[in-house]
């Protein structure tokens, strides 16, 4: 099955971020979204460890380890950046001040539940800011491959893995489609050109609702 690359999924998510939006990108794959801001738009990126307005990584060898993001990677400052302590940082998160949070997922359920912090009781549990980030942002979006590496649906009726948050996700950008979560249902908005609704439904773990026009998901090679 044809599918979007991770860069292409990130590109698609970036198109929905408005100029001047305050945005938190989860550690790992979601960080790619920052690379694909459309020309003429500039989002202000928030990181949990107390920084608004950071830019890309510095050149190797010129890192300043007091200037890092939540993934503990070195970053740079953009004009207009601000530092603050951890309680203020999470006040921005829970207090509804962020416009968008974009997160990864192990599973997303049709009721908006998200599982993205734990694959079960093995090993050392670690949650970080995941359970905070799913609350408070005006939009909580997920970017993910449509299925697991074993081909199992990641969009499901109910999550089987430990939850990060209940009823929190509003939009999912996958390798095959763009899907909104409305009133406890997956609503299909865009799908890859040439992909039939039946084939998409076959790799989706809950019913896809079509309530209006479904646009073609067209993404450049990036």
């Amino acid at each position: 099955m044809e599918k979007l690359s991770n860069n292409q999924i990130a590109w698609r998510a970036a198109q929905d971020i408005a100029d001047g939006a305050y945005v938190n990108l989860g550690i790992g794959f979601p960080e790619k979204v920052a690379q694909f801001q459309p020309d003429g738009r500039e989002a202000i990126f928030h990181t949990e460890n107390g920084l608004l307005g950071f830019g890309q990584a510095p050149e190797a060898g010129s890192e300043d380890w007091d200037l890092i993001n939540a993934g503990k990677k070195a970053v740079t400052l953009k004009p207009g950046a601000a530092f603050f302590h951890h309680a203020d940082s999470f006040a921005m998160v829970r207090g509804g001040h962020l416009d968008v949070a974009i997160l990864g997922a192990y599973e997303v359920a049709e009721n908006g539940d998200l599982a993205n912090w734990s694959t079960g009781p093995k090993g050392v549990p670690a949650v970080g800011g995941a359970m905070d980030l799913v609350h408070g942002a005006k939009r909580v979006a997920v970017i993910t491959d449509h299925v697991t590496k074993k081909g199992q649906p990641k969009l499901v009726k109910r999550c089987s893995l430990p939850l990060t948050g209940v009823g929190c996700v509003t939009r999912v950008y996958t390798s095959l489609a763009v899907i909104d979560i409305e009133n406890g249902r997956f609503v299909l908005r865009e799908k890859l050109l040439g992909l039939s609704l039946e084939d998409l439904q076959a790799v989706t773990g809950a019913e896809l609702l079509v309530t209006g026009a479904v646009a073609d998901l067209v993404v450049p090679e990036v």
């Binding site: 200037l67 890092i68 302590h85 050392v124 549990p125 905070d132």
Partner: protein, 243 residues
Amino acid sequence: MDKTVSDLATAVAGIEDGMTVMIGGFGGSGSPIELIHALIDRYRETGHPKDLVVINNNAGNGHVGLAALIEAGMVRKLICSFPRSADPVVFTEIYLAGGIELELVPQGTLAERIRAGGAGIPAFYTPSSYGTDLAKDKPVAEFDGRMYVQERWLKADVALVKAETADTFGNLTYRMAARNFNPLMCMAAAEAIVQASRIVDAGGIDPEVVVTPGIFVQKVVEVANPLQEEDLNRANAAYPLEA
């Protein structure tokens, strides 16, 4: 008034067995690594302090700083949000062998519990963790149609903190994102012990730029060129450091 103490060993001399110790920093950024190492030195010489309850966002990295404190066997329990790292071998091995207790707290809840401890707020409600395994057995309540979890304050006997500039009254500024948990921990501990890259006389910090007012700080010690955990780990250092 002068809150300056002469050296690191004196700064940490009052930390006793079983105390709850908040340690600032997020990874290596803002980590008071020299204060931690001074505490390890004391333990190696005297066998104390041990059975510590440590509050930090992480569980250390490599074999220096917080990881070395855990590796030395001084920590009974860790309260943190993310006990994984690039080089997590110390905590992981001791935890999986049952040698250390872990209380896992969402990062924003950890910050707010510490803030609440410093602000005299015994409990508060947050949406974070509602409906998840981390909210098990915690009281919940509905406000304006949404569900929230009750969380309790966190306080400590001592906080170990890293600042950029301190004055003799204990007013502090921080360096970039090294601020993180440090200001909150100064508030929540009965005794905040601060290492600063420089100590100036009262009046040497513009009152407009003070981040932590000195009322929250009890001791300051100067560490002019602090080590950075990331640099030590890139050099595969282990504490005690080789000369």
